[in-house]
Each structure stands twice: as structure tokens, then as C-alpha cells.
């Protein structure tokens, strides 16, 4: 196998027919990336159980950042907080982000999510999959892939994975929908998907090969000056909210302490 460090264009291949929805990937990601207990970077999508007893099937997938070839989050971001690394990962820079949430609206997959409890002072507003750069840069597979017991998730050179995906379809045409999602969708993604059910049932949006960003960029050309102003306004609001929350928490703490003291006094 090629050393992961040397893969020129890194990508995932997810095969829904192999996935048992065990969620080892999610827990592995949670530990590897130190994700707080009430947040996640991977989730289960899709309609789940379908059909009527006893004619049943399941349609679900593990969903995380698609690492688009032409990322909409990046083109929507007015301040350049997003970047696409040459070898695949789409990355977010918390130090640049102004918290405008344009990326959330721009992403056709609904991936970036905003932390309303955080303000500029705390850094990152947005959290999403990073393709485990800390691992791939030292030759390890992303945490989700490394642990997947059924190899529903595999990692490698994008072109090779596309070939592999088509080979699986050719070997079992009865098993798969004859399409590799992400090969062309939205201009191509680095998360490729094989499925036994229509992709919409896995929770994936129908997209053409034309990236949304070509549309959005035209609009964005006009809106960047506006966005910067609006971003500043939002920042003000966010800092304000953050300060308010902090004061509220302090007040609550003081109340608790006061109660304790009065109890102690008793």
C-alpha cells in the first residue's frame, strides 16, 4: 500500500452495503479529535428503516465533511477562513473566522455547524471534519477509517478509489445503484459513496456536476463588501451575547455560593 503521506489526492470511499451502523467511527473521531461530549463531527444520516413488515430494508450512512474539490464553504467565506489543501482536506481557520455563518448556508451538505455558545474570544465558531490531518500527515489513516470493523470506510488515492468503486459495481450490479456519488457531484468530492438504495435515502442532496459555488461566487462578488460590514455587526452582537452569558453564569455562581454560605451558616 502507498504510504498515506505520499497519496497525492486523498479521499474516502464509503460503501453503505458494508456499514453496520456500529458507530465506531464516530467514537474514534470523538476521542482522536477531543470533541466535547455534546458535539460530533460524524453523524448517521438517511431514512433508516424503510418498508413495511416483513418487507424491510435499511438506508443509512455515516456523514461528515465531503471535502469538495471546489468547496462552497470556501467561496462563500468573506474572510478566507477556509482553504482546500492540495492533497484533499478542506480546512477551517478559527483565527480568521468572523462567525458570519455564510459557510453554513453555502454548504449543500449542511456540514459546517456553528457554536452559538462561543464568541470570538473563545476562537472557533465552526466545527467540522478535518480529514484528521494530524494523522494523515504522519502516515496514518483518519481515525474513522482506521477503526471501521467492516471496511465500509476505506481511504486512499481518489482516482484509485473511483476505479475501485466502479469495479465493485461491475462485480455486483444487482447490489449497487450504478453511480459513485461524489465522483462528479458539486464538481467532485473527496468523500465517495456507494449505495444499494437511492442516494436521496441516505440523506444526500441531488447535485449536478456544476459546483454551487459558481452560482454563489457570482453573487458573492457583490456581497463581500456587504458581508464584511455585516460580519462586523454580527461580531459585535456575538461578543455582546458572550459577555452577557458570562455575566449570567457569574451571577448564577454567586447565587449558588451565597446559598452554600447561608447553608453552612445554618
Amino acid at each position: 500500500m502507498t504510504d498515506i503521506k505520499n497519496i497525492k489526492h486523498k479521499a474516502f470511499l464509503y460503501d453503505a452495503t458494508r456499514c453496520i451502523d456500529c458507530r465506531a467511527c464516530m467514537i474514534a473521531c470523538s476521542v482522536e479529535n477531543k470533541i466535547p461530549m455534546d458535539k460530533t463531527r460524524i453523524w448517521v444520516a438517511g431514512v433508516g428503516l424503510k418498508g413495511e413488515y416483513p418487507n424491510l430494508d435499511r438506508a443509512s450512512m455515516v456523514y461528515h465533511c465531503m471535502h469538495c474539490e471546489e468547496p462552497d464553504c470556501m467561496s462563500a467565506c468573506p474572510v478566507g477562513a477556509y482553504s482546500k489543501r492540495e492533497d484533499g482536506p478542506v480546512l477551517y481557520n478559527k483565527d480568521v473566522c468572523i462567525g458570519c455563518r455564510y459557510c453554513m448556508n453555502a454548504c449543500p451538505f449542511g456540514v459546517p455547524h456553528f457554536d452559538y455558545n462561543k464568541g470570538l474570544i473563545d476562537g472557533a465558531f465552526i466545527d467540522k471534519c478535518t480529514m484528521c490531518t494530524q494523522r494523515i500527515d504522519v502516515g496514518l489513516e483518519p481515525a474513522c477509517v482506521a477503526t471501521c470493523p467492516t471496511e465500509a470506510l476505506v481511504f486512499g488515492e481518489r482516482a484509485d478509489l473511483i476505479k475501485e468503486a466502479h469495479a465493485r459495481i461491475a462485480a455486483h450490479p444487482d447490489r449497487y445503484i450504478d453511480h459513485v456519488y461524489g465522483e462528479t457531484e458539486n464538481g467532485g468530492t473527496s468523500y465517495l459513496i456507494l449505495s444499494h438504495v437511492p442516494f436521496s435515502e441516505l440523506g444526500l442532496p441531488p447535485l449536478t456536476s456544476k459546483p454551487v459555488k459558481e452560482v454563489s461566487e457570482a453573487v458573492m462578488g457583490l456581497t463581500i463588501p456587504f458581508a464584511l460590514t455585516w460580519g462586523a455587526v454580527l461580531t459585535g452582537v456575538t461578543v455582546g451575547v458572550h459577555e452577557y452569558n458570562k455575566r449570567k453564569e457569574n451571577a448564577a455562581k454567586q447565587t449558588v455560593e451565597a446559598e452554600k454560605e447561608s447553608e453552612d451558616a445554618k
Partner: protein, 721 residues
């Protein structure tokens, strides 16, 4: 921010997890000194320490990933045949087990009423002194048999058994009679081994009789099954529920609960009637073919169709397909087979089916002897025990091995003081307050004992009712005896130093042995010395195997066509069973069925939990589904029940309240709940208050042959609460 997962309405995070710290928000623990010094880490303090998982009993190899000298993550060990480089969700969540904020980190002595949950901290000296004094008092007043012992599948269990045998008590309970007794005793009777190894590398056709490998994960075997399916292997899956395994199978048969025996008898009927069996194998390597042939001639598929609700044509077709694929076919013997009173004969029919098709040597192989070739500390002979066992082994259950026991019968006998009274219970790494059917009875039993001591890493529900709680080091913090898999003896070594005052079981048993005057039975200086003595015959030292994580054992070759049965062959008909007055060949036994208005209560594992011990793990809790009671959506509608309703569920012995999950994925005559929820211990802050306990509902019913509890033989009514 709003909770991401529930915002998307995919997974629901429970309140207990919200706001809790991520693993990484703790300071990552420093890697254990001995492992660091063994050269596992590079100059930067980066590297991997090999050890073994204990989130279930599959015992995968793990690699603890160390960065800058600190343990940050667990990975599957590619060198271990049970993990093959992967860990399941429970294995991935293992660090959270060790860093559970509810860990008990000092010995505790009860100060409140039993079950009130009030304890004080104590030193090891004091706590062990109290345990030893109570055990000796009971021994002196009532005899050693008045102390009962129980423990669940773990690597230090031989030392626990050592303690009870040296103490002189015959009373020993394990989880086995609530789990796989029917399967293992069948295999002993048929093949002379507890469980043959299964090999999926050449298999072409698999029948899974309720073996839900996609959710009741046995890591490497789950991998093997999914890879086999990927190759195009046909999988027939029998289960009243549409599980995640059903979704992967080629064919799902929603069989009526308790009738798997009828299905397999009809399979045998077709295979023998149409002479599809492997005549060479049968004539060379088996005994009792004629008896089986005579018996199953009365069970054609048309007969089974009425009982199982599977069409006769389907059964006949599957029998022919299975035979055509043989000897590359496999009828899986299941794992937790404690379902119905006829589960033992169901298992026998499956074992016979494999033998008739000659699957031995292609998809089934003899299991290697655990621990073969290792050394052990010297010790004197055990004292002679004359008291009867409270669990009826072997005087009531002649075929149940002494090391299995029948724990539900032991509980009943302690409660009834029949044939004599017990006064103390020593529980190690087990939670009988959750696991034994009819929980009310178990709690009554606990409340009448003079002394209870529990060893665990957390305040489990039985510990909550105990007088002394001994904090064990977690599996990432301690050594255990070596574990042999294939030709390797694998090492569990501390990857992190023990937290607080937690100690290994090897240390605790040795200390206690000393205080009880049984020091001669624990002739090892410390944990490391115990392992050195095990390794001695292999000519390697502990330090030499730390980095690799295992020692090589000499190759052993044996004739796979010789079986440790009385005849030395595969016993299709068992003279041993006949002699004891049971059926030597499987015959149909009709199990009880629910009355009108009642449902079968089914239970079974989910992928994120292991029995009763993992529900407090915050990472598993984070990614698990909310526990509830499955009911067929149409059946629910006809009862006027909606998805999400709180319902009361009532059996002959108890009642619970639980949230209803109306689903298409279950037969209309069944309800299902995942075991392990409904904890009583308030010392489990994540798990307490979550879901309800199946043991509150389960009626005790023991199969006289295997001693297995019939867990699916409980019938319930469900009403809106």
C-alpha cells in the same frame, strides 16, 4: 450551540452527557512506566503500547497510542486475530471506561442501610481485614459452603476460582447459565469441545439462527461475516426482529420465537430424506445416524411450516441450497442461546446439521486449548468439599460443568435456604443485581445475607447493595494472566498507572488469600512475577514480550478428526443424554407461548453496550440510541399506542415503565428491549435513570439439561402508562 446530532434528528444525546468533558479535556494520562521503559516509545515519547481490550469477552488486541509520553487513543492491534487492526465502538470508547468520573478509587465500607448508598472511604488494610474477618466468621459458624462466590468471564477468573476452592466452598456462579450454556454443552456432547472455531474464508452459505453479528459484535467474526457477504456468500437469518444483521442478510426469516428447533428438524428431515448428506463423513466420523434419521422422519417441512410460520417450500429450498454448498456451509451455533426450554435441543439440531453436511474441517475446526503450554505457580491440593452445591450442579443439573454453574438456581436456593442457608456472597466483576432474572428476588436475596463484598471499577448495582466495595484497576491499568489465542500468548499490561488506590485482581486475591490463611495458593510475588511464571516454560521474560505484546507458543499439531466424546466420534445421537433420561436425539418440544393480549419479551445486544457494565460509559452513551421498548407499529396502533408513549410492561413477576418505539422491524406478537438499562445504583451518574431493566420482568425458568435460563420465555402485557 444547539446539539448537533439532535438538531439533525439522527442520534439523540442524553442529558447526562451534555456538558460533560471530552476525553481530551482531561490531561491525557502518562503512559505506564514499565511499558515506556520497554522501548515502546521513541525519543519524542511517541509510540504504541500493546495490550488487550476488555469491553467485552472477545478480548481484542489493542494498541494504546502514546504522544509525548501520554496516552491519547486506542487502536486495534493488527497482530491480534480478534481485532485485525480494528476496534468496535466499545473498544474505541475504552479510555472513557478508565476515565469514568464515577470510578471508585478507594476501598469503601458501608455506613448506611444496605442499598442506601452511604459508604465511607477505607484503607486497603482495613477493607481487606473486614472482608477476611467476615469470611472467616461465616466459615467458622456455618462452614465454608455458606460463602457463595460469583464472577463473569475474565482473565483473572482462574485466580478467583482458586480463592473459592482454597476457601472450600462449592458455591460458584458465573454468567454462563444466562448466556451460552445451551450452545457450549451441546458442543461438548456432540463434538467434545465447548465451541469449535468457525472459519469464513471458504464459506459459501451461512445460516444464522438469531446470531446478530452486526449488533452483538464479536469484532473479527463480524468482520468475517461482512466480508463474506461482500464476496456474495448467501446468508439466511432467522430472527423475529429485523436487526442490522437482517438488513445485511440475503434472506430474513421472521420466525416465530421458540420454534427454531422445528425449522432445523425440518432441515434435517429434508437432508436425510433426500439423501443430501455427506455419506463419507457420516459413516467415517459419526455415531447415531440411524437414530437421528428415525426421529426426524416425523418432521417434514409442511409440519414445521405451521409451527415456525416459515413456508414449507422455503425450508425445503434452504435445506437443498445448504446441502449444495456443503461442505463450505455453516449453520452458526449462536452465542447467547438461553432463550427457551428447548434451546439445548435447538443447538443439538444445528450441531447435527453441520456434522451431516461434513462442514468439519472446512468451516468448523477444533478450538485450541486455552492456556496450553504455559506455566503456573505451584500450589497445594484443594481441601475436600462435601457440601452440595446450592445451584444443583451436578445433583440436579448433571451436565452443567462445575465452572459454569446455574446462577439463577443459586440465587433461588440462597433465598429459600434450601438445601442450606448461605450467609455471605463475594462478587467479582459481575452485576447479579442487574443480570439474574426476576430482580425483585435477587434484591431480596442480597438483603438477607450477612455479608456482601463486590469488586469492580465502578459502583455497579450489586456494589451499591454491598458492605464492602473493592476498587479494581481498569483493564488499561493492570496486568492479567496471559491469554492464548492460536499459537500466541497475549499480554494485558498497564498502559496507564492505576488511578487512585485501585488494584489489580491478581493483587487483591493474593492479599485476601494471605489474610484467610490461604497464602500457599497464591505463590507469586506480584503480578509481574505471576506472568513470569506463566512464561517460564517458553524461555522468554515479561520484559521481552512487552513491546510485541505476545509470546510465541510452540506449534501444536493434532488430528482434527478425533473428538473428545465418549465414542471419539461426532455424536449425532448421544448415549450420555439417553442414559440420564433425556432425548439422545433432538425431538420437538413445544415451548410455552403468550396468551391472547400478551407478547413475547425478546432481549438482545446492541452495538454500543456489553451486557450490564458499559451503560455508564459517557462516550457509548453519547452515540447510543435511547433505550425503549420495540413494538410492531401495527400492533401498537391496534392497542391505541403511539411511538414515544410511556408504557407499563407487566410480566408474572414484575412491572416496568418505558418509552415505546413503534417500528416495522419486529413481529406483531413480540416486543423487544435491550438489556443493561434501568440501573439502581445512584453511583452511576450517566446510566442511572436511563431506560428500564429486562431483569425486572424476566421469569426464572431453567432448562434441566443445560441449566440455561429461558430468557425469551417471559410474556408481557403492555399498557399506556
Amino acid at each position: 450551540m444547539t446539539n448537533l446530532i439532535s438538531r439533525r434528528d439522527f442520534l439523540k444525546l442524553g442529558g447526562a452527557a451534555a456538558g460533560a468533558l471530552a476525553i481530551g479535556e482531561f490531561i491525557p494520562p502518562l503512559a505506564a512506566k514499565a511499558a515506556r521503559e520497554a522501548g515502546t516509545l521513541d525519543a519524542n515519547g511517541d509510540g504504541y503500547i500493546p495490550s488487550m481490550c476488555e469491553m467485552c469477552v472477545w478480548r481484542c488486541g489493542l494498541l494504546a497510542k502514546v504522544e509525548g509520553g501520554r496516552v491519547v487513543k486506542l487502536e486495534g492491534n493488527p497482530d491480534h486475530p480478534h481485532s485485525k487492526g480494528k476496534l468496535c465502538p466499545r473498544g474505541q470508547a475504552g479510555l472513557m471506561n478508565t476515565y469514568d468520573p464515577d470510578r471508585v478509587l478507594t476501598p469503601l465500607v458501608r455506613v448506611g442501610k444496605r442499598g442506601e448508598g452511604l459508604f465511607r472511604k477505607a484503607s486497603w488494610d482495613e477493607a481487606l481485614g473486614i472482608v477476611a474477618k467476615n469470611m472467616l466468621d461465616i466459615k467458622q459458624k456455618y462452614g465454608p459452603e455458606a460463602m457463595v462466590f460469583s464472577s463473569t468471564h475474565n482473565l483473572s477468573q482462574p485466580l478467583f476460582e482458586n480463592l473459592l476452592q482454597a476457601f472450600g466452598s462449592p458455591n460458584y456462579g458465573t454468567q454462563r447459565s444466562l448466556c451460552f450454556n445451551a450452545m457450549t454443552i451441546t458442543n461438548i456432547m456432540t463434538y467434545g469441545t465447548e465451541e469449535p472455531n468457525r472459519d469464513y474464508s471458504q464459506v459459501k452459505y451461512i445460516i444464522l439462527t438469531g446470531r446478530n453479528l452486526a449488533e452483538a459484535i464479536s469484532n473479527s467474526e463480524t468482520q468475517d461475516l461482512i466480508h463474506a457477504i461482500d464476496r456474495g456468500v448467501k446468508v439466511v437469518y432467522l430472527d423475529p426482529r429485523f436487526t442490522k444483521t437482517a438488513a445485511k442478510a440475503s434472506e430474513w426469516l421472521p420466525i416465530r420465537p421458540g420454534t427454531d428447533l422445528a425449522f432445523h428438524l425440518a432441515m434435517l428431515n429434508v437432508i436425510i430424506g433426500e439423501r443430501l448428506y455427506n455419506q463419507n463423513f457420516v459413516s467415517q466420523y459419526t455415531v447415531g445416524f440411524d437414530e437421528v434419521a428415525n426421529s426426524v422422519s416425523q418432521y417434514p417441512p409442511e409440519w414445521a411450516a405451521k409451527i415456525t410460520e416459515i413456508p414449507a417450500d422455503t425450508i425445503r429450498r434452504i435445506a437443498r441450497e445448504f446441502a449444495a454448498a456443503a461442505p463450505y456451509a455453516l449453520a452458526h451455533n449462536g452465542w447467547r442461546t438461553s432463550n427457551f426450554v428447548n434451546s439445548f435441543q435447538t443447538e443439538r439440531a444445528i450441531a447435527i446439521l453441520n456434522a451431516l453436511m461434513g462442514n468439519w474441517g472446512t468451516t468448523m475446526f477444533p478450538a485450541g486449548a486455552e492456556g496450553a503450554g504455559l506455566g503456573a505457580p505451584k500450589q497445594p491440593a484443594y481441601p475436600r468439599v462435601s457440601a452440595l452445591r446450592l445451584d444443583g450442579v451436578p445433583w440436579k443439573y448433571p451436565f452443567v460443568p462445575l465452572q459454569y454453574g446455574v446462577i439463577q438456581q443459586m440465587r433461588d436456593s440462597v433465598l429459600a435456604e434450601d438445601p442450606y442457608a448461605a450467609h455471605g456472597w463475594f462478587i467479582s466483576r459481575q452485576n447479579p443485581a442487574m443480570s439474574i432474572p426476576d430482580r425483585k428476588k435477587t434484591l431480596q436475596t442480597l438483603s438477607k445475607l450477612d455479608f456482601i463484598v463486590t469488586m469492580d471499577i465502578i459502583m455497579n448495582d450489586t456494589a451499591w447493595f454491598s458492605d464492602v466495595v473493592l476498587p479494581e484497576a481498569s483493564y488499561l491499568e493492570r496486568y492479567d494472566p496471559l491469554n492464548v489465542v492460536g499459537n500466541r500468548a497475549f499480554l494485558r499490561q498497564p498502559v496507564i498507572e492505576p488511578q487512585g488506590e485501585a488494584k489489580s485482581a491478581l493483587w487483591i486475591y493474593k492479599q485476601l488469600g494471605g489474610l484467610l490463611g490461604l497464602g500457599d495458593y497464591f505463590q507469586y510475588k506480584d503480578d509481574e512475577d505471576y506472568i513470569q511464571q506463566e512464561l517460564a516454560p517458553l524461555g522468554v521474560s515479561l520484559d521481552q514480550i512487552r513491546k510485541q505484546g505476545y509470546a510465541e507458543l510452540p506449534e501444536s499439531s493434532s488430528n482434527i478428526y478425533r473428538w473428545s466424546t465418549p465414542s471419539g466420534k461426532v455424536e449425532l445421537s448421544s448415549a450420555t443424554l439417553d442414559k440420564a433420561g433425556f432425548d439422545g436425539v433432538p425431538k420437538w418440544e413445544e415451548p410455552p407461548a403468550p396468551k391472547s393480549g400478551q407478547f413475547y419479551l425478546l432481549t438482545g445486544k446492541g452495538a454500543r453496550q456489553t451486557q450490564f457494565g458499559t451503560q455508564n460509559n459517557q462516550l457509548l452513551h453519547k452515540y447510543d440510541d435511547e433505550p425503549g421498548l420495540w413494538m410492531n407499529a401495527k400492533a401498537a396502533a391496534s392497542q391505541g399506542l403511539d411511538d414515544g408513549d410511556m408504557v407499563s410492561v407487566t410480566s408474572d413477576v414484575g412491572q416496568i415503565y418505558i418509552k415505546l418505539i413503534a417500528t416495522q422491524a419486529i413481529r406483531p406478537d413480540c416486543v423487544y428491549m435491550q438489556p443493561g438499562f434501568g440501573h439502581l445504583s445512584k453511583g452511576l451518574t450517566t446510566a442511572y435513570g436511563l431506560g428500564s431493566s429486562d431483569s425486572d420482568l424476566h421469569v426464572t425458568f431453567t432448562d434441566p439439561i443445560s441449566g440455561g435460563q429461558a430468557l425469551s420465555q417471559t410474556f408481557v402485557t403492555v399498557k399506556k402508562a
